[in-house]
């Protein structure tokens, strides 16, 4: 197992270079300290209670030495840290801008051409990207280890990340600012694809998620959406109660709401629940739960919602 994760952006090798540099400085310092420590302990081991020891209290040369060298090393480390940080924070003109919205506990992405994706970020290879990020609720943080980038996402204010991906593949996105129960499940993927494929994806020709489902049964698609769209963060399928009610045996069950009214969970009910979690007309919420589910309006297509409904039906 390598101690550094895959390096897939222009920023990554720069960070790695600092990591290596400080590691070397640290290892050398530790060996020095460890060596002196053990050497002194062994060499000047106590022989008797009356050992004669000199009363050395200072030594200007040594003291200067161990003030100056660490100072120089510190300045060096700072400079590297600063220079690369400066590069990382300086946006490239004409970068491809993607809007990112974080909300408990999912990520959604909006592209310049109006496309929207959910928990899946698509970026073209070797093109400078700029993420414009905002949170709908508490703090979150956008972290892609393979790119070595991280930035908190805040409500009421935009924050930014600049990076240029250098390697095709699928990489993990983590949320690294603590945001509640499902903080560790606020995961997403970034797909770095070649520019040609990206163009195809943009125009909806290929590599599209929906097209990939073409020959799958709806309930299987629903099963995939359950994880890829982040429902898993709040809904279990095994009967355990999480932030939201379990989906097990949900279909056809009578639901009770906080205002005491009742309704049977049929297809339309589920669709309404997904699009308007606080269900109209009176803003109903399932009893025992807080109104925290985000609306998936515009994030799930009709066919996807149908697929999820089919999937929920299979959960007996």
């Amino acid at each position: 197992m390598d101690w550094l994760p895959t390096s897939a952006s222009t920023f990554a090798p720069q960070v790695d270079m600092i990591l290596w540099m400080v590691t070397i400085i640290s290892v050398v310092s530790c060996i020095l300290v460890g060596f002196l420590l053990i050497y002194f302990v062994v060499k000047y081991k106590k022989k008797s209670d009356n050992d004669q020891t000199p009363a050395i209290t200072h030594d200007s040369f040594l003291e200067t030495l161990w003030t100056v060298i660490p100072t120089i090393l510190c300045i060096l480390i700072f400079i590297y840290g600063y220079v690369y940080y400066d590069k990382y924070t300086t946006p490239t003109k004409g970068a491809y801008e993607i809007n990112v919205t974080a909300q408990r506990w999912s990520w959604s992405f909006a592209y310049p051409n109006g496309k929207k994706t959910f928990n899946e970020l698509y970026v073209p290879l070797n093109k400078p990207i700029r993420l414009v990020m905002q949170s709908k609720d508490v703090l979150h943080s956008f972290f892609v280890p393979a790119f070595r980038v991280k930035q908190d996402v805040i409500g009421n204010r935009y924050t930014f990340i600049n990076f240029t991906p250098t390697k095709e593949g699928v990489f993990d996105i983590y949320c690294t600012e603590y945001c509640g129960v499902s903080h560790s499940d606020m995961l997403a993927k970034v797909h770095v694809v070649s520019e040609i494929e990206y163009a195809k994806w943009e125009s909806g020709e290929s590599a599209d998620v929906e097209n990939a489902y073409a020959d799958m049964a709806p309930d299987k698609i629903g099963e995939q959406l359950y994880t890829s769209k982040g429902c898993v963060a709040c809904h279990s399928i095994d009967g355990a109660n999480g932030v939201g009610p379990t989906w097990k045996a949900l279909f056809g069950k009578e639901r009770e709401f906080t205002d005491g009214s009742l309704e049977v969970a049929d297809e339309n009910y589920i669709k309404v629940s997904i699009l308007y979690p606080v269900k109209p007309p009176q803003g109903k919420v399932v009893k025992g739960y807080a109104p925290v589910m985000p609306s998936y309006q515009g994030l799930l297509s009709d066919s996807e919602i149908t697929a999820i409904i089919e999937y929920i039906k299979t959960l007996k």
């Binding site: 924070t89 300086t90 946006p91 935009y158 930014f160 600049n162």
Partner: protein
Amino acid sequence: MASSNPYKTYLNIWLLLMFLTFITVYVAQFDFGTLNVPIALLVASIKAGVVALYFMHLKYEDSMTWIFATYPLFLLFLLIAFSATDIFTRVAN
């Protein structure tokens, strides 16, 4: 205390403070634009200084007390300066 007649000093100080209070309130009617706050703070600081020096006898205290009385002001300045620097230099990077 060091002053021969502290009561008299106190009275004078008190009159000075009343006068300064009057000044701040009076001056507040006029708008000096960006100078409003500095003026208010300046007058307040004179008042505070006088209270500390005479009413609180800081004038007669040793240097240690002076350090402990003024160092927090420096820290307060730091707190404000650094957090304000952050908040007002946040340009989109």
